[in-house]
């Protein structure tokens, strides 16, 4: 090692190489993961904690030479299990906090558009609550950008089941919301 910077202990040097990969993943996936967890019903704080834990696990996984294949579904699975472990009230909150804060999403829209959007969202929120747990999870993971086979990995179910479940959920939502 050259003299101007402090020599790094070996684990840190290793860690620095891994951290490039991990940092890219963090940038790309932190928000989708948070969104997934919050939509599952975790509080913002809980979701932050679960995501932090997931990335700490990722560091360990990469540092111990773990496979980098399917790392996206790996992270979602860790986060999913983390959420499961700390959550008692699994789906109570999904769709609930929307009504007063809806302006956040439509601040550039005209008043009529806002009213329409609110109405649509209200109906969607209700319809989402009527989905089964697995339908909701599949859709949320799908919204997180995962492919069917990745969703299947996260939830530990066959890909064909994911496909059927998503189809069913989409159909239900389309009916309820006249999309």
């Amino acid at each position: 090692m050259s003299g101007d910077s402090l020599p790094l202990p070996l684990p840190l040097a290793r860690f620095a190489a891994d951290s490039c990969e991990a940092t890219t993943l963090y940038r790309e996936l932190r928000k989708p993961l948070l969104r997934y967890l919050v939509c599952l019903g975790l509080s913002a704080d809980e979701a932050q904690d679960v995501v932090q834990d997931a990335f700490v696990s990722l560091h360990r996984h990469l540092a111990s030479g773990g496979s980098q294949e399917n790392i996206r579904s790996w992270l979602f699975r860790v986060a999913h299990n983390g959420a499961r472990n700390r959550q008692n009230s699994y789906d109570r909150r999904f769709g609930k906090p929307l009504n007063p804060q809806l302006d956040l999403i439509a601040y550039e829209a005209t008043p009529e558009q806002v009213v329409l959007a609110k109405e649509k969202f209200r109906r969607l929120g209700k319809a989402i609550l009527l989905l089964t747990e697995s339908e909701r999870e599949c859709l949320l993971l799908r919204a997180g950008g995962l492919r069917y086979r990745e969703i299947a990995e996260v939830l530990g179910i066959p890909t064909s089941t994911v496909s059927d479940t998503v189809d069913r959920a989409i159909k239900k939502l389309a009916e309820k919301c006249n999309v």
């Binding site: 910077s5 402090l6 202990p9 684990p11 840190l12 860690f15 620095a16 951290s19 991990a22 940092t23 963090y26 940038r27 932190r30 948070l34 969104r35 919050v38 939509c39 509080s43 913002a44 704080d45 979701a47 932050q48 904690d49 932090q52 700490v56 560091h59 999904f94 769709g95 906090p97 929307l98 007063p100 804060q101 809806l102 956040l104 999403i105 649509k120 969202f121 969607l124 929120g125 989402i128 859709l139 949320l140 799908r142 919204a143 492919r147 069917y148 496909s163 998503v166 989409i170 939502l173 389309a174 919301c177 999309v179």
Partner: protein, 179 residues
Amino acid sequence: MCSFSGRLVAWMDRELPDNEAADAERHVRDCSECRTRVDTYKQVSRVFVAHCDAVMEATTHRRPRWVPVLASAAAAAMLFLVFQPASVKQIRVLPPVADASPAIILETAPKPVKTVHRRRGSAPAKTPNANWVLPETAIQIAIPVEAMFPPGAVPEGITFIADVSMAADGSVQGLRLQP
């Protein structure tokens, strides 16, 4: 139901090989049933994602949290923080919220000592001297800048390592920055 429907999602996920993708595109153009399915799928997905974003916004719309970072910091006798883009001036090292009982003297402490529970990993043997320092690193954590600072506070492309030494009671003993 159209026999092609099973492959529609694979096509939307761009998982089909080129020649099959071209077939699929042609098919969707010609088959009204599949076209309707794809349209519904996309519309519901869009609304659903917007809904998730709104739930996320509504739930997480507040200041970033410092406490968990510091809590885990207190768990370590020495801590390396690797920030991705960051600027030196922005670093805030707050003292941990914790139960700071600086001198843990065995003869006088009948109460359970909380600091012991907060240490993770290989906890060193407890000594009556509160000012001992671990010989080497305990924990290394990479924290991308957006987790610590408000957006835009830190220019892109700057990386540094903050080398934080902590006392046994969780207070910060020293902070050294390396580019």
